[in-house]
Symmetry: C2
Subunit: 115 residues, 2 copies
């Protein structure tokens, strides 16, 4: 899971339904994850996809300007175009400002700080 | 996937790593999803968990007061306690204000509105 920087920062919540078959998706997803991690303002990413093909990827960024710059990255544009032509049945994208964040780990045994 | 209300609204991004085995998790998760949907201010939920046990659930709410009220719900408290005792190795929870949102569907063929 992604680290927990101090809020405020930004989340890009990308929820998508895949088309059947890989069609090069896995390789491109790996490449985009590595490329995103090199961009200014990148804070981390979390991603999960179930057997029903519904996936959620949340990437975290320092600012909306950083998100916009990544959005304009040439390779990212190509990946988005291929996503619409080949990989996705539908998707939603939300930009959200993270106002509060906390974590819990079994090994720490710490209580829920907001219980 | 969840509907797309007009921003602003709030997202609760819950990322978790499951312990092995079900241990009653599936039934409780279904019950919590149904119960959450009955709460004031609930707008929707999206959830995915991969074979590695990493899951992301994003629920959407009209306001932080609605999130707090759901947090205080007695049955939800019990579920959280059981999550920490039985179901999760670790989790993170983030409260984020959704500022922008859009969707794309293959059948609509619409262009990316922010391309």
């Amino acid at each position: 899971m992604s680290a927990l920087p101090q809020p405020p920062y930004y989340a890009v919540i990308f929820t998508s339904q895949r088309t059947p078959g890989d069609q090069g998706y896995g390789d491109m997803a790996d490449h985009m994850a590595a490329l995103a991690a090199e961009q200014p303002g990148y804070l981390g990413v979390e991603s999960a996809r179930g057997d029903d093909g519904l996936g959620i990827t949340v990437s975290y960024w320092r600012s909306t300007d950083d998100i916009l710059a990544w959005r304009r990255h040439a390779e990212h544009k190509i990946a988005r175009d291929t996503g619409r032509s080949d990989w996705y049945r539908h998707y939603t994208l939300r930009i959200a400002k993270v106002e509060r964040a906390y974590g819990w780990q079994r090994e720490d045994g710490e209580k829920d700080p907001q219980a």
